[in-house]
C-alpha cells in the first residue's frame, strides 16, 4: 500500500505531461495531493498491513508523512488559483515537478534503508530546482544555481556519511547492510570512530538540506526568489524531511550508546542557527528573505529540542508540526502580498491589512504564531522546549535562547508591522484577495490556532511515541 503512495504521484506527473488542457493540469495537483492525504491518514491509522525491508512506517515517519501530506494538499489547492493567474508562465514544468517532488518526499519519509533515503532526498533537490526557477529572472537563476550546487555537494557528503556507517559495520565485524532496522540491532557492535565520522557527515549533508547554520547560505536566496507556494513546500515540507534523515542518524547513535555526542552536535548547531537568524532578521527589508531566516531559526529550535532530550524532544516533535503548517501559511500569504504590491521589498509594501482584507490579517496572525505568541501552536511547542532546557539544568542555554527569541520577535515584528500597518500607496491593488488563494493559508493558520488551544489525545499519543523513539531506554 505504501508503494501506491509513492507511485501514484509519478503516474499523475506522467498524466500531467500528456494532457493538453491548462486548467485540468492545474487541478491534478489538489486531486493527487488530496488522494495522497487520504491514503496517508488511512495508512497511519494502520488500516493496511505494511512491512518490507525497504519501506515502512514508524512513529517518526508517520508524523512527518502526515504533516508533509497535509501541507502539500494546502499548497495544491492554492496552486490552482496561482497557476490561473500565471498563464503567461505556463504550468507544463511546474505541475509535473511538484508531483515528482511529492513522490520523492514520500519515499524519503518512509524509507527503511539509508541508501533509499539518500536517493529520495537527492531526488527532491533535483525536482525542486526547476520550481525555484519558475519566475525566470536573473535573480531566480542565481538562487537556483546556488541551491542546486550547494545542496548537491551537501548531499554528496551525506552519502559519504552513510558509507562510513556501512564501514562501521564492516569494522565491527557485523554483516554489512544499510537496512535501518538491521543497523539498529547491530548498533552496539559498530566500530565507533567510523560511526562518529558517519554521523558528522550525515549531519553536515542533511543539515545543508535542512538549512541549519552555518550551512544555510542558499536558503534566503532560494526562498526569496521562489514562488510563494514553492517556498511553503520547501520551508515546511522539505526541511522536515531532511530533519527526519538527521533523526535517523540520532536514533542510530543512541542505539550504539553514543547519543550524547549526537545531541551535543545538534545543540551546538541549533544555537548557532538561532544566533545567525536573529542577526539577519534585524532590519530585514525583504519579506520572503525574512521568512527564510525565520526558517533557519526554527530549524535551530528543532535541533536544540532533540539535542536537550527528555520533554524537549516532545516539544521538538510538536514544533515540527507547528513550524511546517505556520511556515506554509506565512509563505502563501506572503505570496499574495507580493502579488498585490508587485514587490516583496519593505520600501514598497505598506498597509497590507487594508489592501488585502484577508491575506493581510493571515500574514499578521502567522507572524504572531511563528514568533511564539499565545494562543497559537508554536507557543506551546517553544514553551515545552524551553521548559525542557531549564528543567534539565541548562540555565545559560535557556537564557541565551530567550534573548535570541526576543531579538527575533523584535526584528521580525518591525518588518511585518511596517508591511501590514498604515495606508497602502495605491488605492486599488492590481490583485484582490480571491477565495482560491486565501482559503489554504487561512485553514493552515486556523489549524495552528487549534493545536495551540487543544491537542487531541491521538496526536498527543503519536507525538509521545515519536519522541520515545529518540530517547534512550536502558
Amino acid at each position: 500500500m505504501l508503494v501506491v503512495l509513492i507511485i501514484f504521484p509519478l503516474i499523475a506527473a506522467a498524466i500531467s505531461l500528456a494532457i493538453p488542457w491548462y486548467q485540468a493540469r492545474s487541478w491534478l495537483l489538489p486531486l493527487s495531493s488530496g488522494l495522497h492525504l487520504l491514503l496517508s491518514v488511512l495508512l497511519c491509522l494502520g488500516r493496511f498491513p505494511l512491512e518490507s525491508s525497504w519501506i515502512g512506517l514508524d512513529a517518526l515517519s508517520r508524523l512527518v508523512l502526515l504533516v508533509t501530506s497535509l501541507l502539500f494538499f494546502a499548497c495544491g489547492v492554492y496552486a490552482v488559483g496561482y497557476l490561473n493567474l500565471r498563464r503567461d508562465r505556463g504550468n507544463k514544468v511546474m505541475v509535473p515537478c511538484l508531483l515528482v517532488f511529492l513522490s520523492a518526499m514520500t519515499l524519503a519519509v518512509v524509507a527503511r534503508h539509508m541508501g533509499v533515503m539518500w536517493l529520495a532526498v537527492e531526488a527532491t533537490t533535483i525536482s525542486s530546482a526547476p520550481l525555484i526557477y519558475y519566475n525566470r529572472s536573473r535573480l531566480s537563476i542565481e538562487a537556483t544555481w546556488k541551491y542546486l550546487l550547494i545542496c548537491s555537494v551537501g548531499i554528496a557528503l551525506a552519502m559519504l556519511g552513510i558509507l562510513f556507517i556501512a564501514y562501521a559495520a564492516l569494522g565491527g565485524g557485523a554483516p554489512v547492510s544499510l537496512q535501518f532496522d538491521t543497523l539498529l540491532t547491530v548498533a552496539t557492535t559498530l566500530s565507533k570512530p567510523w560511526l562518529h565520522a558517519g554521523f558528522v557527515f550525515l549531519l553536515v549533508g542533511f543539515g545543508t538540506k535542512m538549512g541549519l547554520a552555518p550551512l544555510h547560505s542558499w536558503k534566503p536566496d532560494a526562498y526569496g526568489e521562489a514562488p510563494g507556494l514553492v517556498g511553503a513546500l520547501l520551508a515546511g515540507g522539505l526541511t522536515s524531511v531532511a530533519f527526519l534523515a538527521i533523526l535517523r542518524g540520532v536514533q542510530l547513535m543512541t542505539a550504539a550508546g553514543e547519543g550524547d555526542m549526537a545531541r551535543q552536535a545538534l545543540l551546538g548547531m541549533g544555537l548557532l542557527s538561532l544566533l545567525v537568524a536573529s542577526i539577519f532578521m534585524i532590519r530585514q527589508p525583504d519579506i520572503k528573505r525574512m521568512l527564510a531566516y525565520s526558517s533557519v531559526e526554527h530549524m535551530g529550535l528543532l535541533a536544540i529540542g532533540v539535542g536537550i532530550g527528555g520533554i524537549a524532544t516532545f516539544g521538538a516533535m510538536l514544533h515540527l508540526i507547528n513550524n511546517a503548517l505556520t511556515k506554509g501559511g506565512l509563505f502563501l500569504a506572503a505570496g499574495n502580498i507580493q502579488r498585490a504590491f508587485a514587490s516583496k521589498r519593505l520600501s514598497e509594501v505598506r498597509g497590507a491589512l487594508k489592501a488585502l482584507p484577508i491575506s493581510g490579517p493571515i500574514f499578521l496572525a502567522g507572524f504572531l504564531a511563528i514568533t511564539g505568541s499565545p494562543p497559537f501552536g508554536p507557543f506551546m511547542s517553544e514553551f515545552t522546549i524551553l521548559r525542557g532546557v531549564f528543567s534539565s539544568g541548562h540555565m545559560i542555554i535557556g537564557l541565551v535562547m530567550l534573548i535570541f527569541l526576543a531579538t527575533v520577535f523584535i526584528g521580525m515584528g518591525t518588518t511585518v508591522l511596517a508591511a501590514t500597518q498604515g495606508e497602502p500607496e495605491h488605492k486599488t491593488p492590481e490583485f484582490k484577495d480571491s477565495f482560491m488563494l486565501y482559503i489554504a493559508p487561512l485553514i493552515l493558520i486556523l489549524l495552528i490556532l487549534l493545536i495551540g488551544v487543544y491537542i487531541p489525545a491521538p496526536l498527543q499519543h503519536a507525538l509521545q511515541q515519536a519522541a520515545d523513539l529518540l530517547e534512550v531506554h536502558p
Binding site: 541508501g115 539518500w118 537527492e122 536573473r138 548537491s152 559519504l160 558509507l163 544499510l178 566500530s191
Partner: protein, 212 residues
C-alpha cells in the same frame, strides 16, 4: 590483479592533477569522463565477475563515462566557451594545493582504523585525494561548468568508497544513485544554458546580486 588495480587508481590521481592544472574546458570534460570510465572497471577488479559487479560496472561506465560527459560537452558547445580564464586561485597554486591534499590523503589514510584487507590497497587514499581535488575545483573556479566538473570528481571519489562497500548497497540503490547523478547533471546543464542566455557568460561571479 592488485597491480592493475593500483595502476588504475594512480591514473585516477594523475587525472585529478590534469583537471586542476588545465584551463581547456573540453579537455577537462573528456578527462573526467576517462576517470569515470576507469573507475567503472573498479567493481570488476575488486569483486570479480559477479552479476552485481558486472551490472554496476556497465551502469557506471554508461553514466559516468558516456552520458554525463556527453551532456556537458553539449552544454559547452551551446554556450560556446573554450577556456577557464582567471580562476579565483591560479592554476599553479591550485596544483600545489592539490599535491599537498593528495599527500595529506595518503598520510591520513594510514591513520584510519581500516579493516585489515583495505590497509594495503590504494582505495581509501585515492578516494580521499579525488574528493579533495573535486572540492578544490569547486571553490577555485569561476565558470559554472568547471564547478559541475568538481562536483562530478567529488562523486567519483565517493564512488571508490562505495565500491568497497558494495554489499551494503543493493543494485537498485546503486542504480538509483547513478540515475540521480545523471538527472542532476542534466538539470545543471539546463541551468547552465539559462545562465548563459541571461548573462551571456558562464561566470558565477555575475551571480552575486543576492546578498544581505
Amino acid at each position: 590483479m592488485m597491480e592493475f588495480t593500483n595502476l588504475l587508481l594512480l591514473t585516477v590521481i594523475l587525472i585529478n592533477f590534469f583537471t586542476l592544472g588545465s584551463s581547456r574546458l573540453v579537455a577537462c570534460i573528456r578527462i573526467v569522463a576517462l576517470q569515470g570510465a576507469l573507475l567503472a572497471l573498479l567493481p570488476l577488479l575488486t569483486h570479480g565477475l559477479s552479476f552485481h559487479s558486472i551490472l554496476l560496472s556497465a551502469g557506471a561506465f554508461c553514466f559516468k563515462g558516456i552520458l554525463i560527459p556527453w551532456l556537458l560537452l553539449r552544454a559547452v558547445r551551446e554556450v560556446r566557451i573554450r577556456r577557464e580564464v582567471e580562476p579565483i586561485i591560479g592554476f599553479v597554486p591550485t596544483l600545489i594545493l592539490g599535491a599537498l591534499t593528495t599527500a595529506g590523503a595518503f598520510l591520513f589514510a594510514d591513520f584510519l582504523p581500516l579493516v585489515a584487507e583495505h590497509h594495503d590497497g590504494l582505495y581509501v587514499p585515492v578516494a580521499l585525494a579525488t574528493m579533495f581535488a573535486g572540492f578544490l575545483l569547486l571553490i577555485t573556479r569561476r565558470k559554472a561548468i568547471t564547478q559541475v566538473l568538481g562536483y562530478l570528481m567529488l562523486e567519483n571519489g565517493i564512488f571508490i568508497i562505495g565500491v568497497l562497500l558494495s554489499e551494503a548497497l543493493p543494485l537498485m540503490v546503486e542504480g538509483g544513485v547513478l540515475l540521480d547523478l545523471l538527472v542532476g547533471v542534466f538539470v545543471m546543464g539546463i541551468v547552465l544554458n539559462q545562465i548563459n542566455r541571461e548573462f551571456s557568460s558562464l561566470d558565477t561571479e555575475r551571480l552575486s546580486a543576492l546578498k544581505e
